[in-house]
Symmetry: C2
Subunit: 246 residues, 2 copies
């Protein structure tokens, strides 16, 4: 069950320089320290349920969660993969728009909704950071629309791996990945398929085929070695500059 977690100091926080608090100075941080609390969720637990009250604004500190919507007949589409520093909720809204589920054990740093609304209103450094992050998320969502709308199953799987590897590298302060890289999948084939708009079977078959083609090597079912990141990115529909093909 979801549990409160002991507070850690913002100074030691792993997402200190990437989350909504990234631009805050010492004084502002003190105000956040006073208002924040931590909570941990086990893999599979819901952090939010679409349509229901969302009492807190949360930032992922560690772990991984998916944001998704499920249609009446069971079809499900993940609309975002939440990694450390990503946020859940929005100012001025009391209801969750999507289901959010922990994919692995996850810790969040959170603020009561009304408290956070006040922080956004009174702390320009939070407001501007939130705007930047939201604009980034918007670009990411739009980029993903290209994947969902126009790419083949194989391209989708490659694009997913590429984006996962890129985000990992960015989060650890590394530059653009290159050459031989490893990637651990924080999610099941089902969660992956929901993200890609594919069935589990199609996803699995594409992975198998990509192994046969030497694009990826299985370390285990949830971890791959990628002999050539560039080759993978090429399949994902990108030129070798790291951007989408002109």
């Amino acid at each position: 069950m979801a549990q409160s977690s002991p507070n850690i100091s913002c100074g030691n926080c792993p997402i200190r320089h990437n989350a909504v608090c990234a631009e805050c100075d010492k004084d502002e941080l003190a105000a956040l320290e006073a208002a924040k609390s931590y909570r941990s969720f086990a893999a599979g637990e819901p952090l939010a349920v679409s349509g229901e009250a969302l009492t807190h604004f949360s930032s992922i500190v560690s772990g991984c969660a998916s944001m998704s919507r499920t249609l009446e007949d069971g079809r499900r589409q993940t609309v975002g993969l939440l990694l450390p520093s990503d946020f859940i909720g929005r100012p001025g809204r009391a209801t969750a728009a999507y289901d959010v589920v922990a994919l692995s054990d996850t810790v969040v740093c959170r603020f009561e909704r009304r408290t956070f609304d006040g922080l956004v209103r009174d702390t320009p450094h939070i407001a501007t950071r939130l705007l930047t992050m939201t604009l980034d998320e918007l670009d990411a969502a739009r980029d993903w629309a290209v994947v969902l709308g126009r790419m083949t199953a194989r391209e989708k799987v490659a694009a997913f791996l590429v984006s996962l590897i890129r985000r990992r590298a960015a989060a650890t302060g590394q530059g653009e990945p290159a050459g031989d890289v490893a990637v651990a999948l924080p999610l099941s084939r089902e969660a992956m398929s929901d993200h890609l708009g594919l069935t589990i079977e199609t996803t699995s078959r594409q992975i198998t085929a990509m192994k046969k083609d030497g694009l990826i090597q299985a370390i285990n079912t949830r971890a791959f070695r990628i002999p050539s990141f560039e080759a993978l990115a090429l399949i994902a529909g990108e030129d070798d500059d790291g951007g989408p093909i002109a």
Copy 2:
């Protein structure tokens, strides 16, 4: 060719209460009046080109534009349909992330990029409004991901018509559409297909089939009568409360 257009007063502006300026008071508006300029684009003209410099932050005043990305082999996905009050550009970025093309004759109200960056920094009412709009756009982009990833061709077409009708109603200050409604398509079958992640042929076939089923009636190729908005929304995967199905 793109042309400068005579300025109109913010007081008479059709998007005064919906655009980034919506929350501005009289004094702030005066600053905007001084900095703004208008420009008009004929249908088919580019407002922005992906990867190239974007010198201005623009708001659509009238008309309609599409934001899209084209892959090397010609596959194209529209990532956003821009209607009056929607904006193009983002603070602090000098390069366009997507292609933006006018679908019909379009007028924009715009600010030089650096001027706008200053306005966002110094005018809280603009910053907060921009945040709200960006969060709304993010939700819309995520909602559309469900359509692209999990819906059938027919559902996609229905969802598109529903969203178009809803946006029209919202822009003209009406509530939720109901019963017998008409809708004028501001775009070609091709642009529509790019938005839906379908081919022109599939889109056309679905429209034909929906006519046969009595869901829509052709006024002409670019305008339909919808005998029952509710019936259309149901096909688009929504319950009759206007929200996505639980």
